[in-house]
Amino acid sequence: MELIVSDLAVVRGGMRVLEGVNFRVSSGTALVLRGPNGIGKTTLLRTLAGLQLADEGAVAPGPEAMAYASHADGNKGTLSVSENLEFWASLHGVDDISVALREFNMEALEARPAGSLSAGQKRRLGLARMAVTGRRIWLFDEPTVSLDVDSVALFADAVRRHLGQGGLAVIATHIDLGLEGEVLQLGPFKAEAPEDHHEDFHEAFL
């Protein structure tokens, strides 16, 4: 299995932010996205996940192979940790949440309402959701925000196990997770600013 992105142009708020993005990620490896704030890492990941339409280019396979973890975890504070995970699992047709709980060290917190968890624990719950989607391609947007050193290692191990089972991952992060795979700098793909529209501007008032 391979993720192939060819000549992709992504838009945010009607403006192209990245264009001509080409990369391949093969089974068992992870691609790390780097670039300054605002370059379009989130927009690229959302486009891969199918939440936004690409202006140009193609992504293969389609969004149905991807699991996406955004800044927001989408877990409900009044449901317990296991209820939240069970919901996502059954939505994706997966029965077993025990592996996800174990991998992200959430077993002791299983019965706690998600609203009473600390920021880092909530983040871990959000990441554990990826393990119950049963999808091959994991997309992460700044996954390590508010995680402590041990949890970052826990997360890296979980991704490594996923890669070991033939999965692949695209991760936008600024820290080194020590994963097998390449680093993609998004700077060179920055879209050119649109040409001056002075003439159109005057025409509009004629």
Binding site: L51, S70, D73, G74, E83, S90
Partner: protein
């Protein structure tokens, strides 16, 4: 999709979920009406069917902005969009969950509240039936309004303005069925129209809601 329904129902009965909000508001409207219009039982029984329908509609309106806004704010709606269920399914389930937590309790409570307004005895059956048939349309139309305004901060006002005109046909025919039923007149025509509106909205609007959600998530 059953999982989504179960989650939404569980959320609505947990703390801060809003189950009972509509019912409490309905009770307030119905208990305050006799104070406002006076205790004349003849007047009350004339307006009872209309007040009960109006109260049910307004209580329904009260909880509309919660249908999608909460899931939008915590990112769950985005994740639902990437999950292997169609957005049309999400919109349908959201409307169904809303009906089960507002429309259905209102329908079941309406006969009890009818007593407070001196609703004529013949009216109880048709009031309940008209609410049972009409309130699903309120939830489905409301979900559509919520889908249109999901990305907006303080979209509640706009939501009410969009939804209210769409509620008018249901209100007219629903109240008409209840009123005619209470007065022992023929009610087949408004009943058929009420059912027609509900069936049409249930069949068509989830597609519109899904399209609106997709656009708002971009």
């Amino acid at each position: 999709m059953i999982a989504l329904l179960k989650r939404d129902l569980a959320l609505s009965v947990r703390a801060g979920g809003g189950f009972g909000l509509a019912l409490a508001f309905f009770l307030i409207v119905v208990t305050l009406t006799p104070f406002a219009v006076g205790p004349n039982s003849a007047t009350l029984s004339t307006i009872a069917a209309g007040i009960l329908w109006l109260g049910a509609l307004l209580s329904c309106l009260l909880s509309l902005d919660r249908i999608l806004a909460l899931d939008y704010e915590d990112g769950a709606l985005e994740l639902l969009a990437t999950a292997p269920i169609p957005m049309e399914g999400v919109a349908t389930i959201k409307a169904l969950a809303h009906w089960l937590t507002t429309g259905l309790p209102l329908t079941l409570a309406a006969p009890a509240f009818g007593v407070l307004l001196n609703l004529p005895p013949e009216g109880f059956l048709w009031l309940t039936i008209s609410l049972a048939i009409g309130t699903p349309a309120l939830s489905v139309v409301g979900t559509f309004g919520a889908a249109l305004t999901v990305g907006l901060k303080r979209g509640g006002l706009l939501l009410s303005l969009i939804v209210l005109p769409l509620y008018v046909p249901t209100l007219i025919f629903g109240a008409e069925v209840a009123r005619r039923g209470a007065e022992g007149m023929a009610f087949e025509t408004p009943l058929a129209l009420l059912a027609g509106i509900t069936l049409a909205t249930v069949a068509l609007l989830p597609f519109a809601s899904a399209a609106a959600i997709r656009i708002n998530l971009r």
